[in-house]
């Protein structure tokens, strides 16, 4: 029997640099990238920004919202797209900044854009098998500023899509705002379909003069697209089944937000009206794993998510190697 868990609250933090579409125009050729569909702006990390600092700022906002001292938190889980350092994640740095002596500090490096749900499942497992009662789960997307601000990358068609940001949530081991189901599915057969590449062919860690970028091979783009179209509605249905709910019981949907086409397709596949799908793509771009907590917070702020709503959190990662969904009954605090 798993320990019941609830989401006590969420908060976000963004870096200072707000980047508009103009930034991605190629000034030498005057050529306009074609891929601005649905986007107006996104934030970029500057070289001085760190994921640990972003998490600290978001966590302090959350601490104030919930009147909870983060120094007391039992579990810290982080997922950072492109970490501050190789060799180690930022979890220990975060714990130090929060003055926490958490029993569990885990830097997660899998489940990409749906790692928020994955970390919910991990935290629930840790709470079930230990006396931990609280977990701070942290998503930071850093790849926009760290990869796509490079002059050689920024005129790529996909450069304008990612945006940076941080979202954190506090989970508690009780049923005050119950997570009614969590479904996670691994698809290891698709693990090789996303890579990073440099135009000079070097490994990303080898010294070189050109930047690397995320690479979905052209031959596989259509397959990855079809896979994403299918996978997320499937995992949402599986999650509803586990919670013994129907799709029509969903009041609000929060997903990762790779692009407006996926958002449209997932919403259509779940027969949900546009206003039930919380997303911030126009102003934040693709927030990778940070989209879920950031959009959850947005939905609560705008009233798209109301007291007692059934909120579905779902998405898929990378080129389809993982998909997950969760349902939270968003009871009033």
């Amino acid at each position: 029997m798993m320990t019941p868990i609830s989401i006590a609250g969420v908060a976000s933090h963004f870096p200072e640099q707000l980047i508009d579409n103009q930034y991605f125009f190629d000034e030498t050729t005057g050529k306009k990238p074609i891929m601005f569909r649905g986007s107006k702006s996104r934030y970029h990390l500057s070289p001085e920004d760190t994921s640990a600092e972003m998490i600290e700022k978001a966590a302090k906002k959350l601490s104030a919202k919930l009147d909870f001292d983060m120094a007391e938190v039992d579990i810290i889980l982080t997922h950072v797209t492109l970490p501050d350092l190789p060799f180690t994640g930022c979890g220990a740095d975060v714990a130090q900044r929060l003055g926490a002596k958490s029993k569990w500090v885990v830097d997660v490096n899998s489940a990409g854009c749906v790692s928020f749900v994955y970390m919910m499942a991990l935290a629930q497992s840790l709470m079930t098998t230990s006396n931990a009662k609280t977990a701070l789960i942290c998503n930071v997307q850093t790849a926009a500023g760290r990869i796509y601000s490079h002059p050689e990358n920024r005129t790529n068609p996909q450069a304008s899509v990612p945006g940076d940001g941080c979202g954190v949530a506090l989970l508690v081991a009780d049923d005050s705002r119950p997570v009614k189901a969590i479904v996670t599915k691994c698809f290891p057969e698709f693990s090789g379909d996303m890579t990073v590449a440099s135009n000079d062919g070097r490994k990303w860690w080898e010294p070189g003069e050109v930047p690397f970028h995320i690479d979905f091979s052209e031959a596989k783009v259509a397959k990855v697209f079809a896979r994403g179209n299918r996978m997320v509605p499937e995992v949402i249905r599986a999650t509803c089944d586990q919670a013994q709910m129907k799709l029509s019981d969903i009041d609000a949907l929060v997903t990762n937000q790779p692009n407006p086409i996926f958002l449209r397709n997932w919403r259509e596949a779940c027969l949900l009206p546009k206003e039930a799908h919380v997303q911030t793509f126009e102003e934040h771009g693709n927030l990778f794993g940070a989209a879920l907590p950031i959009c959850l917070e947005r939905g609560l702020e705008t009233g798209q998510i109301k007291a007692n709503d059934n909120v579905v959190l779902a998405g898929f990662s990378h080129a389809g190697d993982f998909a997950a969904g969760a349902i939270v009954e968003w009871r009033a605090a």
């Binding site: 074609i34 891929m35 569909r37 068609p157 783009v221 259509a222 697209f225 079809a226 179209n229 299918r230 509605p233 692009n259 086409i261 449209r264 397709n265 997932w266 259509e268 596949a269």
Partner: protein, 223 residues
């Protein structure tokens, strides 16, 4: 005349010379949904298709025999011998006292079989069932056939232009069922598959195993 000239003035063309791969990719993503509303796919036309493990010439000959309809369709029965125009009159048992008039136009070289039909009257055979049998060896690299079957949403489906020919107080018009055509035709093409695969697998005569044309003289009177 070169191609540029022949295409001059044609609006809305998207060709690689002026619509580059990046633009095409973008458009294709836009046009590709995870799910499609039923009406969008099956509203203007309704196509079903099936692989059938039976040689294409046998499938063609079976379909080209109008009386096979009595075996594989859900509800058309008791077709008469053909009149001078080749039209047979049967009953569509899905509605009371309903005659169905039907003529086959088949092309063995193309393996196309078109049924031109109508409920109630035979002067205008506007319900057209378009079928094509394809050699599965060619398209799927295996023995057997692929059958494509399309109906187009003729305006008469929406309103019966010959109400005077309909049986009095018949509560349903064939076009009322258009939203269920995909399902109905799917069931029927499954019947077709089951019959032909059974007969082919068991070395039975492909059929149809129905009354002879001679025996049908005088049929076509609906009670």
């Amino acid at each position: 005349m070169n191609q540029e000239n022949t295409l001059e003035g044609v609006e809305g063309l998207r060709r690689i010379e002026s619509f580059v791969p990046d633009e095409m990719n973008e458009l294709c993503l836009e046009l590709t949904h995870a799910v499609y509303p039923h009406d969008e796919i099956y509203g203007p036309t309704c196509t079903v298709q099936e692989y059938i493990d039976c040689p294409p010439d046998a499938v063609y000959q079976y379909l080209a025999n109008l009386y096979s309809l009595e075996e594989w369709t859900w509800s058309t029965r008791n077709f008469s011998a053909p009149n001078a125009e080749g039209v047979c009159v049967g009953v569509d048992a899905l509605a009371d006292y309903t005659k169905i008039h039907c003529r086959v136009e088949a092309n063995p070289a193309a393996r196309t079989v078109d049924y031109h039909c109508a409920w109630d009257q035979g002067d205008e055979l506007w319900m057209v069932y378009l079928m094509r049998v394809i050699d599965a060896q060619t398209v799927l690299n295996k023995p057997g056939s692929v059958v494509l079957w399309t109906n187009c949403h003729h305006p008469y489906y929406d309103k019966n232009p010959f109400p005077e020919t309909a049986p009095k107080e018949r509560p349903v018009w064939v076009g009322d069922l258009w939203p269920l055509f995909y399902a109905g035709h799917l069931v029927e093409i499954q019947n077709l598959k089951a019959i032909l695969e059974h007969r082919h697998a068991n070395n039975l005569a492909i059929g149809p195993h129905v009354a002879s044309v001679e025996a049908r003289r005088g049929w076509g009177k609906v009670a």
